[in-house]
Each structure stands twice: as structure tokens, then as C-alpha cells.
């Protein structure tokens, strides 16, 4: 009884904080989201004062659009490859960076560095690297493979976007995993060692359960970020060459800004949203199972 009233009091004192966050979230996220659903049912072009209801016509168009399949394919390839490479690499890096190494803080900040540069500037920097620097190195050293820029072929451009995605997306999971790794009790690892468990077995039995919930966060964040990839595309490839790197996010942007198809852009965005929601739900259910709940 006494315990209950204390926790009740505590909850009351949290209320203003939660309510503020909820109000802000509603105003800036939920209302616009509902608004965009509303516009997806109209023929609004993004500028006019007048528009008409057209029902689900825009959604029909989304699925009839012959380029949509292309965009989904690229977006999925990007999402799968980037996450399949960044997550294992960041686990590995995280383990290295929690070892007692000299200058470990220096390395931690070096690996975190890509996360603090804006994605648009990164695209511009890599533009120089892919368009100028690498071909120049190739020509000077006579390396045939480097002489033509990655960005001038369809497959190359996809690879270039993935390389950039990998480079930037490695940092945040690494930092989160370092924090999670530090929460693994030392005595458990010690005990496992004494019981004769090798490094792999120790990781699987002792460390992994402590990482599971963080991994879910990293995966959900990684997949969401990858499915809406947009900034690199606009500054690195403009969706080209010949639509090879037109992601869903970039496609939505083009519809809303250049092509005056705002309502169709909204419809595409909703399809993308459902996609992300399903993927996130699935990951939380599947990967999230079996981890140790941490506070």
C-alpha cells in the first residue's frame, strides 16, 4: 500500500514532462502525418488553394507507377546491405573499443566523427572523392578499375551510395554498443572463462544477451534510416545515372517539389510508412526475443 502511493506520487511528478513531450510530438509528428494522409486522398499539387477529393486514386497510381518497383528494389538493396554490414562491424568495433587500449577515447571519437557531419555535406565530400580523387589516383597509378568513376555506371553508383551509407551509419550503433558492452558484468565473463568457454562461446552465452535489446534499437534505427535515405542521393547522384539510385525518399521529394504531384508523393510516403512500421514490428518481435531486459 505504502509502496503504491510512493510510486503514484512519482508518476504524478513525471506528468508535466510527459505531457509536454506528447503535445510536441502530436503537433509536429502526428498531426502532419494525419495531414499527409488527408492530402493523399486529394489531387493537391502543393501550391493551389483549391483541390478535390479523388479517393484512393493516388494509391492506385503508386502501385501502377512502373518506376516504383525500381525505387523499392534499390531502397531494399541499400537497406539490407548497409545494415548487414554496419551492425556486425559495429559489434566488432564496439568490442575492440571496450578493451583496455591506450588512447581508446581517441579512437572512439574518431569512429563517432562521421555521425556529426551533415549528410548533405557528406554527399558533397564524397562527390569530390568519387568524381575527382579516385579517378585521378587511378590515372596516375595506372589502375584501370579506378580510372572511370564509380558514379558513371548504374551498379557503381549503387555501390557508391552503399559505401557512403556504410561509412556514416557505422558510428551510432558502435557508440550504443559500447555502452551496452560496458553493462556486461565482469564476473559473468570471468566465471565463463573459468568454466573453460572460448571467446566465441563467451560472446554467444554471456555478452550477446546483454546486447540484444541494443541491437534491436540499432537495427530498427538502421532500417528506418536506410528506408528513407534521401540526403546522400540528392547530393551524390541525384537518383542517377538513369534512375539507378532513385530511392523511395528521393522519389517522394521529386513528386512533392519538382513534379507538382504533392498528393501522389503523400500516398507514396504512406506506403513507405506502412513498410517501415511492418519491418520494425517484425524485428522487435523476432530479434528482441531472448534478450535480458535492462533498466
Amino acid at each position: 500500500m505504502r509502496k503504491n502511493s510512493i510510486s503514484h506520487k512519482r508518476n504524478v511528478s513525471y506528468m508535466p514532462v510527459i505531457v509536454t513531450a506528447l503535445v510536441l510530438y502530436t503537433v509536429f509528428f502526428i498531426v502532419p502525418a494525419l495531414y499527409s494522409f488527408y492530402f493523399s486522398l486529394t489531387d493537391w499539387n502543393g501550391y493551389s488553394l483549391e483541390y478535390h477529393f479523388v479517393g484512393f486514386k493516388n494509391f492506385v497510381k503508386v502501385f501502377r507507377d512502373k518506376d516504383l518497383f525500381n525505387s523499392i528494389k534499390f531502397t531494399l538493396i541499400y537497406t539490407v546491405v548497409v545494415n548487414a554490414t554496419t551492425i556486425p562491424c559495429s559489434v566488432f568495433l564496439g568490442i575492440l573499443l571496450t578493451k583496455k587500449l591506450r588512447g581508446v577515447n581517441f579512437f572512439r571519437s574518431i569512429f563517432f566523427y562521421p555521425a556529426i557531419i551533415s549528410m548533405l555535406s557528406l554527399g558533397l565530400i564524397f562527390n569530390e572523392i568519387f568524381r575527382r580523387m579516385l579517378p585521378m589516383i587511378g590515372q596516375t597509378l595506372g589502375v584501370g578499375a579506378l580510372e572511370t568513376s564509380l558514379l558513371s555506371t548504374k551498379a557503381g553508383a549503387v555501390a557508391a551510395v552503399i559505401i557512403l551509407g556504410f561509412w556514416q551509419n557505422l558510428s551510432i550503433p558502435t557508440v550504443l554498443l559500447i555502452a551496452a558492452l560496458q553493462s556486461v558484468p565482469g564476473e559473468l565473463t570471468e566465471a565463463a572463462k573459468i568454466d573453460g568457454a572460448g571467446p566465441l562461446a563467451r560472446f554467444r552465452v554471456v555478452t550477446f544477451p546483454y546486447l540484444a535489446s541494443t541491437l534491436v534499437i540499432c537495427l530498427v534505427k538502421g532500417i528506418r534510416d536506410a528506408l528513407v535515405v534521401f540526403d546522400y542521393i540528392i547530393s551524390l547522384t541525384q537518383g542517377g545515372p538513369a534512375k539507378a539510385t532513385t530511392s523511395m525518399g528521393y522519389k517522394i521529394y521529386l513528386m512533392g517539389s519538382t513534379d507538382m504531384k504533392f498528393s501522389q508523393g503523400c500516398a507514396t510516403a504512406i506506403v513507405l510508412f506502412l513498410f517501415i512500421a511492418l519491418a520494425s514490428f517484425f524485428i522487435m518481435k523476432v530479434v528482441g526475443r531472448g534478450g535480458i531486459e535492462q533498466q
Binding site: 502532419p32 542517377g240 538513369a242 510516403a269 510508412f273
Partner: protein
């Protein structure tokens, strides 16, 4: 993506709401002493020249004050979109009459119809017509551009070349340069918009007295029933463009974007470049010392047509209650002596009668404009939602050279109707 987008939109809506409210408050207080303040929304970076014109206007009209809202063109587009959608009109707006959103706003009656004013006679007829939307004039053009070939005069001199006056001479010059180990053309195929732009320039450069791309493509859009398959000119334009990009461009043109092509041309890494008159300032920014010129892309028997359009324009918006004052400013801008101020800074040809352009770089081009050999960028007059699709198509064509796919795609794009 979607959330971030709408959050930005909503914030912008709120911000403009506040601006609107304060503007209304300001209006009330000025009503009493008959002072009027107009807002001029300016999207280009050359604010100093428009400020000079504003200062002169304010000196002549002490009761009208013009406040400049200057944005760079990237954010300008978003601000314009938000303010159109939320019905917060600016009194005066600088835009481009070729842009789909501007034309859509004209069609919706959001811009003041200027057709009835006498002073619009001061606009050169060709450019008056180009400025029109549904045969009505909604804006005063400030300067014009043209699709041309930029060439490096020093490289031409070193190789004893003259400015080519026919297509064969152009190819001969390119062969000479190639034999001398000089890159004849710099292409920026990494920039998809540049690819379709070059195709448009080329369609004008194959025109003759029997055919011109504006009548043909816009005619098709309007239902003339013509077909790409029956048309040798479209094919010729595509073939010639591909030939130049495939045979005479630098190594790996697909990796070059617009900015890089400007740097390369400025550094003398190539002799020629198909581009627009607007490239002059971008090239000179990279190398102020460059000795360059521009000529019109010739066809078999000389230059018949050159593609040209209006660069920026100024329009007045409806629903502000200050339309009369705004029109007064437009009249002021369209006077020869004031248009001259703009041209002296901008160096581009002027669409206003009697204005002299002092710019040796485009001497060879000015003649054709004066002779009326200019035809509009035809893509602006077909359906609005095709810009990025056409750019992708042209880029794919320059990459793989698949002529049939390109012409079929172009036909579909020209015939596409708004839905």
C-alpha cells in the same frame, strides 16, 4: 522522411503566419499617412542590382517603400511553395516564367494580368509572347538566356580554328582538336538535367524552314497527331548529341556534373561545351582570366534556330490589395533606362526594347536574338510533371545510346497529359 518534411512545412507555415500577422499590423498603421510598403520576394543571388533599381524607384515614388525578401534559389522554391499553399501572397515576386509552378499560379489567377497596360509594349514581341500564359501577360522579363556552345578562344587559336558555321565544320574542328590531343567537348552527363537540356539545344540546332521543335513538340502535346517515328529531325538531334558525347567528349563524361564541367572548361581542359548563356558567370567564377566566347550550334547549312528563354521575371500577385502600386514598380522596371541597369550587371541579353548588352563573350549570339531566330525551350510548354522523368531518360540515352528507347520515351513524355 515524410515526417521531417511535414514538420518543416508546418514550421514554415507557422512562421509565415507570424510574418503575415505582423505585416497586416504594419499595413494598418501605414494606411493613415498613405505610405505603402511592398514586399519583393527575390530568389536570385544578385540582390545588389535589384536594390539599386529599388532605390531609384523609391526616390521617384516617395510614398512607396519596397522591402526586399532575399532568399537563395534553393530555399526560395520551398518558401514560395509554402506561401502559395497558405495564401500569403507577396506583393511582387521574382520567378522564372518557364517554371511549371509559376505557370500554374498564373493559370489560377494568383498573378496580376498585365496584358491591359500600355507600357508592356516596351517588351520585345518574341519575349512578350514567351512570357505569356494562355495568351495573357503575367510578368515582366528581366533577362534572357540561350542554348549555345561555349568555346575557349585560346585553344581555338592554338589549333588555327575558326568558329564553325555549319555542322560539318563543327565536326571537322572537333576532329582537328582530337588529333591534337585536345578534348573537343566537355559533357556533364552526371547531371541529368544537363542531359535533357543539351537535347533541347540540339533540337533547335537541327531546325530548318520546314520544321522547328517548338511547333512540332508543343503541337504534338496539343493533339496534332504527329509521331516521333515519322520525324527525322528528332532522330537527327538525338544522333548528333550522342555522337558528340560518345566520340568527342572527355573520358568518362558520366562522372562529370555541372559544377565540375564548369571547372574543367574554365581550366582549359576542353575546347567546347554545349550549355546556356548562364554558364558564363559560373565559368568566370572559376577562372576570371579565361578568354572565351559563345556561338550558336549550327545545322547543315548554318544557324537556323537557337533555343532561348526568359531567365528571371518579376510579377505582381493578386489578393494583396496593393496590386496598383506593384504594377507601378513593374512599369518602372520595364522602362529602357532601368532595364539597362539590370543588364549592365547581368551581362545577359535584355528582353526590353532599346537596351544595349555590352558583353563581347556573347557577341556572336546576340545577332540571332535580334533577328528573331530564337525559339522557346519547348519542354516548358508541355505537361508539368515530366521534368525529372525526361532528365532520367536523356541521361540513360547518353549512357547506353539506345536510340529507340529514347525516342519512344520522349514521345510518351511529350504526349503525357496532366491528370
Amino acid at each position: 522522411m515524410r515526417k521531417r518534411w511535414l514538420a518543416i512545412g508546418l514550421t514554415a507555415v507557422m512562421m509565415t503566419g507570424m510574418v503575415g500577422a505582423s505585416a497586416q499590423a504594419a499595413e494598418k498603421s501605414t494606411d493613415t499617412d498613405e505610405q505603402v510598403t511592398l514586399e519583393l520576394f527575390w530568389q536570385k543571388s544578385n540582390t545588389n542590382v535589384i536594390q539599386e533599381i529599388i532605390d531609384k524607384f523609391e526616390a521617384e515614388n516617395p510614398n512607396i517603400k519596397i522591402e526586399l525578401t532575399a532568399t537563395s534559389s534553393d530555399t526560395g522554391k520551398q518558401i514560395f511553395q509554402t506561401r502559395m499553399a497558405t495564401n500569403e501572397p507577396m506583393d511582387l515576386v521574382q520567378h522564372w516564367p518557364s517554371q511549371a509552378e509559376f505557370r500554374a499560379m498564373c493559370k489560377e489567377g494568383r498573378m496580376v494580368d498585365l496584358s491591359g497596360y500600355d507600357w508592356t509594349d516596351n517588351i520585345i514581341d518574341t519575349y512578350y509572347d514567351m512570357s505569356c500564359v494562355d495568351d495573357k501577360l503575367y510578368s515582366v522579363p528581366l533577362s534572357i538566356n540561350a542554348g549555345v556552345v561555349a568555346y575557349n578562344k585560346d585553344i581555338f587559336e592554338e589549333n588555327n580554328l575558326e568558329v564553325p558555321s555549319t555542322w560539318d565544320e563543327l565536326i571537322k574542328a572537333a576532329d582537328t582538336l582530337k588529333a591534337a590531343d585536345v578534348t573537343p567537348f566537355i559533357f556533364s552527363n552526371g547531371d541529368k538535367e544537363n542531359c535533357s537540356q543539351k537535347f533541347h539545344i540540339m533540337t533547335a540546332a537541327v531546325a530548318d524552314d520546314k520544321w522547328n521543335p517548338y511547333d512540332f513538340y508543343v503541337g504534338m502535346y496539343e493533339g496534332s497527331g504527329a509521331k516521333f517515328a515519322d520525324n527525322d529531325y528528332s532522330k537527327k538531334a538525338a544522333e548528333r548529341l550522342y555522337l558528340l558525347s560518345d566520340e568527342y567528349a572527355q573520358n568518362d563524361p558520366m562522372s562529370t556534373n555541372y559544377d565540375l564541367s564548369m571547372q574543367m572548361f574554365a581550366n582549359g581542359e576542353g575546347a567546347m561545351m554545349i550549355t546556356g548563356t548562364w554558364a558564363q558567370s559560373d565559368i568566370e567564377k572559376n577562372n576570371p582570366e579565361i578568354n572565351m566566347g559563345m556561338f550558336a550550334l549550327p545545322t547543315d547549312d548554318g544557324v537556323n534556330m537557337m533555343i532561348s528563354g526568359i531567365d528571371p521575371c518579376i510579377a505582381a500577385m493578386t489578393g494583396t490589395g496593393k496590386e496598383e502600386y506593384a504594377a507601378k514598380f513593374l512599369e518602372f522596371v520595364s522602362r529602357t533606362e532601368n532595364a539597362q541597369i539590370y543588364t549592365d550587371y547581368d551581362k545577359s541579353p535584355s528582353p526590353i526594347k532599346g537596351v544595349k548588352t555590352e558583353n563581347p563573350t556573347i557577341d556572336l549570339v546576340l545577332g540571332y536574338i535580334e533577328e528573331g531566330k530564337a525559339i522557346p525551350w519547348w519542354r516548358d510548354y508541355i505537361s508539368t510533371g515530366v521534368v525529372s522523368d525526361e532528365a532520367d531518360l536523356a541521361q540513360a540515352f547518353l549512357m547506353d545510346g539506345d536510340m529507340d528507347a529514347f525516342l519512344e520515351g520522349e514521345e510518351e513524355i511529350v504526349l503525357r497529359q496532366e491528370d
